[in-house]
Symmetry: C2
Subunit: 500 residues, 2 copies
């Protein structure tokens, strides 16, 4: 069946910062969409295509797998991969103008790691073994037996489940982060809060950009890319977002918004210093920039004193605070919230209503009970003790194993940190070697929308034991040193060239 | 304190189809945003402003209430309404280019009806008294005690909770509505499915329009308005969407999508005939228009034989099917789904991931148990028996009480139907008279994005007893006749004019 597809003309942009397997998958998808490959056509074997294109075979496999998962290709054991029937007709009906580059592959969420990955340092999720399952069961059953169950099952308010909203508002007011003129909107986790904000502030008007940390969580990057916002990257270091760089960015680009993760930033893990917090709040007031404070990790502080939120420091009403239960309790229950001035919250609620009417009420009621009962505080206490052990294991393993010339951040909490491999290493090229050893991570290029952070990688230590973390770092270090050896061997065979 | 605000210059567009209270609220909000009203300024008393502007006092109250709810105004008992401090500063920071007209007021969802409304025919929600609360409690506790609870609490897949997805796919395949090349995405109710589809098909390219029923559910209208799509209205009658009008619309406008609610359409309540179903599917195939089948009410058939879905009739892969548990079980649990060709579902899942990672898993697991246990079928059976009684009460009351020259649709299921008052009545003008009598409904102008359906109104009978429904219709009829008398009295005082 099916004529063999010719993919030998596919080219790659090695400067784009987009991983090669994604470039390959996108090229194949484009050929299908433009009718250059037909339903039923067979694709070259991975080994064959790898040779033709000068790629690693694992890169070709990753691209094929991604396309099979999305239904564009169909794999048949022993016979190879084929273009799915009907893939083209559908692709045609779908808006061809969509920016697929802005849409991320399902790398981090939900999809199981490759079969041979024993130590998954790529996925930023809390350890299931530490879940307070017994408390959850007891409290959830209390909610279900309570008279409020009937209310929970009825259509609710776009603003969120009333009792939880009031609880969170009271708590925020007591902490000094909410003012009388503020209101609160419940969202499906923090991701939806970001999406609502991006849509509100950039709808039909992308004239002013958004300032984002660099590197930054790719889910955040994608939200603003899709909203059509242009982005100004502001570097992050051991003390969080570089306030001077933000000042320069504001002077140069007049951003409408700046998104800041003051505590245990994803992917760097670092914390914005008190001096920088004050300066950034003051900068925002002076320039009229709205600050989006992404405060989803601050409860996960394992050492050192807590710092005030930007919202608390702000006296002008310039800060919109985002919080979530996902990182501190049960990520499968999608419950986050936004605190900001009432008119803004009213508009976000109107938008939320168009998106999905309101957030699920059962989970909101269960999480309220979890917080009110004291079980959340107890769980947080245990999480902090376990988190410190993980963090210490991660940092000592770096000291001990990483090749000379490496550097890494030293967080005081959270679930991840950042390693920078020595030049001329590239964390994307090291990844297949690490995966062969059974360990995975996310390469730094994923955390920026422009070519950057090639030597960087994010290590997520949230869901693993200290022993796994230590071993994982050791294996990454081995993979890096192997690649370094290869690079050196390779450079001996070729004329010396400048490293770009 | 605060100087009295001068609102006497506000003007109204009586041809716009936008309710007067909304026009008034929007004008006041605009004055605040542009700094023409300052924080702390007092607004005229409702009676005074009604006289100044020639409005009904209830209209002014409704506008003030809406602004108070969104925090723009603050009411003080005995002292009047004031512009909130800080309202302006925030309004300025928010993108002024946003199309507020495209954003609906919180009329239908969540907000409690005005205090004096005894019979709420405006809100389309199932009757809480009929909820199978005992079964819900038993099954939810089973889920919580089961080993799968641990999985539910972990971050999940953007596609949805695996066991529920498989169950729904198997069911759809058995019914003949899903083909082997199809896939399924769980969403936060049907509203999110519409939003994801609108964003996917119209992102950055609104060159081709969307064909929508007219009148149509305002939440659906708003989704496409916000996505920037231009809209072609296609009339709906007793046999559902007018297929000939759709053919003409396709010939004229070449729409990318057509959204069809074949069963118990909101607001008309009518069902697309089999002949029209076949013709519309055939039309779509011929023209390459993608059909979005909004199939959220078809399980609520109270009489007559079931008809095949468009998805079932379609042989070309042109139909995307939307379904939901919200209308047949617990609306507070936000669980809907989309069935369509795999590549489309893959793209919607990527988009869903940017929006909110994935839908809440606890509710998905509970609803799966509810369906698998047979309790959903049992509940549906009871709902249909109760629904028929309600429907019959609604229709007989219309026969009996509506003024001469009225007409109304005769649904076979669902939760609402449509009354057309005789000329020269306007359902918006009748509404305050109805509300004074303790009954509310949604005026027809809400169900279109252009001036239309002035004489129409939607009656939702889902949540009331047959006695309440009968009394509600009687009161609406009285309000209409009172308005008719006023109109006649009024017309006697003025020269006869053509009715526009």
């Amino acid at each position: 069946m099916g004529r063999l597809a010719d993919l030998s003309q596919i080219t790659f942009d090695t400067e784009s910062g987009v991983p090669l397997y994604r470039q390959l998958a996108d090229s194949i998808r484009a050929l299908i969409e433009h009718g250059r490959l037909q339903g039923g056509q067979r694709l070259p074997a991975t080994r064959e295509l790898a040779t033709q294109l000068g790629l690693n075979r694992a890169t070709v496999s990753a691209a094929y797998n991604m396309l099979e998962e999305s239904g564009v290709l169909q794999g048949h054991v022993g016979r190879g991969s084929f273009v799915a029937k009907g893939a083209a007709a559908l692709a045609e009906a779908v808006n061809p103008g969509l920016d697929w580059e802005a849409i991320l592959p399902a790398l981090e969420f939900g999809s199981a790691p490759a079969a041979n990955i024993e130590i998954n340092l790529a996925s930023s999720r809390p350890a299931a073994a530490n879940f307070p399952l017994a408390a959850f069961r007891r409290l959830a059953k209390e909610v279900i037996d309570s008279p409020e169950a009937e209310t929970i099952l009825q259509l609710g308010s776009p603003h969120g489940y009333g009792p939880l909203r009031r609880y969170l508002m009271d708590q925020a007011a007591a902490e000094g982060v909410a003012r009388p003129s503020d209101d609160l909107l419940m969202t499906n986790g923090c991701q939806q809060a970001l999406d609502l904000i991006a849509r509100l502030f950039f709808a039909g008007d992308a004239a002013r950009p958004v300032a984002l940390e660099s590197p930054v969580y790719h889910g955040l990057l994608r939200v603003f890319a899709r909203a059509g916002a242009s982005m100004i990257p502001v570097p992050v270091d051991q003390d969080g977002m570089d306030a001077e760089a933000l000042e320069a960015a504001i002077a140069r680009g007049n951003p409408r918004l700046a998104v800041v993760t003051p505590s245990f930033q994803n992917p760097m893990g670092t914390t914005l210093s008190l001096e920088r917090r004050k300066r950034i709040v003051e900068l925002a007031q002076r320039s009229g920039t709205v600050l989006i404070e992404n405060d989803i990790y601050s409860e996960l502080r394992y050492r050192g004193p807590a710092l005030p939120t930007l919202k608390e420091l702000d006296k002008a009403g310039n800060v919109i605070l985002l919080r979530s239960y996902s990182k501190v309790s049960f990520p499968g229950l999608r419950v986050g919230w936004v605190i900001g001035p009432r008119p803004l919250i009213a508009r976000l609620a109107e938008s939320k209503q168009i998106c999905d009417l309101h957030s699920d009420q059962l989970s909101q009621a269960v999480l309220l009970r979890f917080a009110q009962s004291g079980e959340l505080a107890k769980h947080l206490q245990q999480t902090r003790v376990a988190g410190l052990r993980r963090l210490e294991a991660a940092l000592s393993a770096c000291e001990k194993y990483l090749p000379k010339g490496s550097s890494f951040t030293r967080p005081d909490g959270g679930m991840c940190y950042w390693i920078e491999l020595p030049a001329p290493l590239n964390a994307e090229n090291v990844l297949p070697r690490a995966e062969k050893r059974g360990v995975s991570y996310l390469p730094g290029t994923l955390f920026s929308n422009r070519p950057a952070h090639r030597r960087g990688l994010r290590v997520s230590f949230g869901g693993l034991t200290p022993e796994q973390i230590t071993r994982g770092i050791k294996l990454i270090a081995e993979a890096a040193m192997e690649e370094l050896g290869m690079l050196n061997a390779h450079s001996r065979l070729e004329p010396v060239a400048a490293i770009v």
